[in-house]
């Protein structure tokens, strides 16, 4: 087992899982909603990027922008349907969960309808080839996706940390009524959250589509993985989600190398169940004060 390869794969997977899980985690903690339509955002962004590549330009930046913008729009759509009409109604968490599931089902079927079940492939936006750093050999794909997602993650975290909007989102995570009292508009902030997390899912879609095909059901596995990573990290915790993404990426890398690809999900699940049995609120659920 080559430790460098393992480390690289771990970082690559952790970056992508981090993007997926962070979106779910932020939505849960700031809006109190579990976004099961994140998989739909993922799939639709893949198609957005594909359409850009098909009709406008195969330039890497254009393709990424296509995916990110489609993701943000899909996020806004989900927010408009599942959050805005429901957030002050009784039984909101369950109803919004079901609404996002319905959007996911509906969106998946619409994609199937429009684009047919035939899979699509994105152009290799980072080119084909390998880079050598001493003993490490890394393909452009991996380097590109690590760099891209790291940049997006850092930008998002910095934005959350230092901008007015970010402060509003953090305030809303902690206490929605208090947030309203300092002039935070629940709905506009919610839409901002949905768009940012949608953009994250869009980027993750473009990056993952470097290795996988785009299909109407392509969102299911990333959704499930993002969700369980967010769960293991403790819903609502940014740091927890990142730690969990790294751990789970590592487990995936080790399992794929050591046991074989078909055991990946099983080992991941055993790990997550073990984590949750020890800490029902995830890795960080105990450390941070998050939404009940």
């Amino acid at each position: 087992m080559d430790p460098y390869y393992l480390a690289l794969t771990t970082i690559n997977l952790a970056a992508i899982y981090g993007l997926l899980a962070l979106g779910i985690s932020i939505i849960w903690s700031s809006l109190g909603m579990i976004n099961m339509a994140q998989g739909f955002t993922f799939a639709v962004s893949g198609y957005g990027a594909w359409l850009v590549a098909q009709h406008i330009s195969t330039n890497g930046l254009a393709v990424v922008a296509g995916g990110v913008i489609t993701g943000a729009l899909a996020g806004a759509l989900i927010g408009g349907i599942a959050f805005i009409p429901l957030y002050d109604k009784p039984n909101f968490p369950l109803r919004s969960l079901i609404a996002t599931l319905a959007i996911s089902l509906m969106g998946g079927q619409c994609l199937l309808w429009i684009f047919t079940p035939r899979v699509k492939a994105l152009p290799k936006i980072f080119g084909i080839g390998n880079v050598h750093f001493g003993p490490v050999v890394a393909s452009y794909d991996k380097i590109g996706s690590i760099v891209c997602s790291a940049i997006l993650l850092l930008v998002t975290l910095a934005w959350m940390k230092s901008s007015r909007r970010g402060l509003e989102i953090r305030a809303m995570m902690q206490n929605p009524e208090g947030a309203a009292l300092v002039g935070v508009g629940l709905r506009s902030t919610a839409m901002a959250v949905m768009m940012v997390t949608g953009a994250m899912a869009g980027l993750a879609a473009v990056l993952l589509s470097q290795n996988y095909f785009i299909s109407p059901t392509a969102g299911v596995t990333p959704l499930v993985k993002g969700m369980v990573v967010a769960l293991a990290g403790g819903l609502g915790s940014v740091a927890g989600a990142l730690i969990a993404a790294i751990l789970i990426g590592f487990i995936e890398a080790v399992t794929a190398v050591g046991l074989g690809g078909q055991y990946v999900l099983i080992t991941q699940f055993l790990f997550i169940i073990a984590v949750l049995l020890v800490r029902p609120r995830g890795i960080a659920g105990m450390i941070e004060h998050t939404r009940e």
Binding site: A102, M106, Q109
Partner: protein, 512 residues
């Protein structure tokens, strides 16, 4: 002048709502009460006998017509497909019965046990794959498959119940979605479970092989219908009996109260969860004998969502909701199959609309309407501010004699009216018109003053007749002398009376 109380609104407001129940002539309550379901103490129908208040004739009414409606609906479901339907309709009806059974059992987990598990279809799938595996590789006959299904379901249930002890609500829901996905990936990758053939088929079936197609379908349908009936009976036996009652005492977020009563709600939850897992496994075993195998589509996200759509549309937590929701979804999914992918979009649209506009599905609409009406009524009642303002609502609850609140409110209104009447001219009139006819306004004020309670009522004390008068306040208690109010001394009774009047006027002005 204060505004008059708005009487029109209060007369139209209903006090409570009458339930409209059909009334039949004649008595019969006693004989109906004598009949029982075998081995239980349940009466088939709750009938009340009474007298018509105007004609005094005996009449009876059905308190809860649900059993009759159930009977009609189930009879229609049992008769319609074989009589009216072609073969695709019958197979759709079979699917309906099977899914309705799954949903009814699932409702035990979600509704009764309060465990938001989304792994119900996965449990069915495990039962189906287990039974199919034993039949294909070990040659189990169909009746043995029916028996091993619950065993697989129970084993799977025990496995997924372990995290359910620690996790709560959505954490568990998400985890079960993950477990379902895990099962799907495992099944489509495993050679033995038919990765290549997209499903594990070739298992034994309970429909005899030499049977013609249509009778075979009809037999399959009736068998599924029996499964549905068994599921309903199981729901009834658990939700309506000891376990259900225990758990009803421990609703979400109020578990501590139940625990304080000595109810071990955790054990009850897990028990219900395991029972329903075993039942779902049994449905899985039946599924395998019906379709001669199992397919991984049982584990897909879309199928799970369809199942969720069924219970959401009807309303989570009620069997009639589960059955109706299943009926609607299966109708769109199987009968309008010509619509292609559009039908799933349609189903998702119905699901979305239900969840956006209703609180508890289609069967929750009457309750939601009543709640909305009640909220509107109570808010209107609260907004009629002419009635409030004397006592706080929580204070009012502690006052036994509600008339005293009304009296206070009336008194406040009278005081407000009288305050407007008091002017310097009026006071001057009182000073000069000791024994003359008085104006209407002054008479009104004086009448109010005379009406005051005896305690602390001002009076004039003649210290020396025709020479010295003082104002005193009566004690209001027998044997306790009045107390002197101040050191003012009047020389005539008229002046003293006017002094009392001034005191009363200033008290009135200070009051609110």
């Amino acid at each position: 002048m204060t505004a008059p109380i708005d009487n029109t609104a209060s007369t139209t407001a209903l006090v409570g709502t009458r339930r409209l129940l059909p009334r039949l002539a004649g008595h019969g309550g006693v004989s109906w009460r004598r009949w029982r379901y075998p081995f239980t103490r349940r009466t088939p129908l709750l009938i009340e006998t009474g007298y018509n208040p105007t004609t005094l004739a005996t009449e009876r009414r059905i308190v809860n017509p649900a059993p009759i409606l159930w009977l009609i609906a189930l009879a229609a479901i049992a008769v319609a497909p074989p009589v009216f339907g072609n073969s695709s309709f019958i197979s759709a009806a079979t699917t309906f019965a099977l899914y309705a059974a799954i949903n009814v059992i699932w409702m035990l987990t979600i509704g009764t046990a309060g465990i938001f598990s989304l792994a119900s279809l996965a449990t069915v799938g495990v039962g189906a794959f287990g039974a199919a595996y034993l039949s294909v590789y070990w040659g189990f006959p169909w009746w043995a498959m029916w028996m091993v299904g619950p065993v697989f379901g129970l084993i799977f249930g025990v496995l997924i119940a372990i995290p359910a002890i620690r996790l709560e609500g959505f954490y568990y829901a998400l985890l079960t979605v993950g477990i379902t996905e895990l099962c799907r990936v495992y099944v489509i990758q495993s050679q033995k479970l038919g990765a290549a053939a997209y499903g594990l088929f070739g298992a034994d079936g309970f429909v005899p092989k030499d049977m013609a197609e249509r009778p075979g379908l009809i037999m399959g349908f009736y068998a599924s219908f029996v499964v549905l009936l068994l599921a309903l009976a199981l729901y009834r036996a658990i939700d309506g009996q000891r376990l259900g009652r225990l758990l009803r005492a421990a609703p979400e977020k109020h578990e501590a109260f139940a625990e304080a009563l000595g109810i071990n709600y955790r054990a009850a939850r897990i028990q219900v969860f395991l029972i329903s897992s075993a039942a779902l496994g049994g449905v899985g075993g039946f599924y395998a004998t019906l379709l001669h195998g199992a397919s991984p589509s049982l584990f897909t996200m879309d199928q799970l969502m369809l199942l969720l759509a069924m219970i959401v549309i009807g309303g989570i937590g009620r069997t009639e909701g589960a059955v109706l929701g299943t009926l609607i979804v299966v109708l769109f999914d199987k009968v309008f199959i010509g619509l292609g992918p559009a039908r799933l979009v349609l189903i998702a649209g119905i699901m979305l609309a239900t969840v956006l506009f209703t609180r508890g599905g289609l069967f929750g609409i009457p309750a939601q309407y009543r709640a909305w009406r009640g909220k509107r009524q109570t808010e209107r009642r609260g907004q009629r501010s002419g009635k409030g303002g004397e006592v706080m609502p929580d204070e009012a609850m502690e006052i036994a004699d509600k008339q005293s609140i009304v009296a206070r409110r009336f008194d406040a209104r009278v005081r407000a009216e009288l305050k407007a009447l008091i002017t310097d001219a009026l006071i001057e009139e009182h000073r000069t018109s000791a024994n003359k006819r008085r104006s209407d306004a002054l008479e009104r004020v004086l009448t109010y003053f005379r009406r005051a309670a005896v305690a602390d009522k001002y009076a004039v004390l003649a210290v020396k007749p025709f020479a010295e008068y003082r104002i005193v306040a009566l004690s209001g208690r027998r044997g306790v002398p009045p107390r002197v109010v101040d050191d003012q001394v009047f020389t005539t009774p008229e002046a003293a009376l006017h002094g009392v009047f001034l005191k009363r006027v200033s008290d009135l002005r200070d009051s609110t």
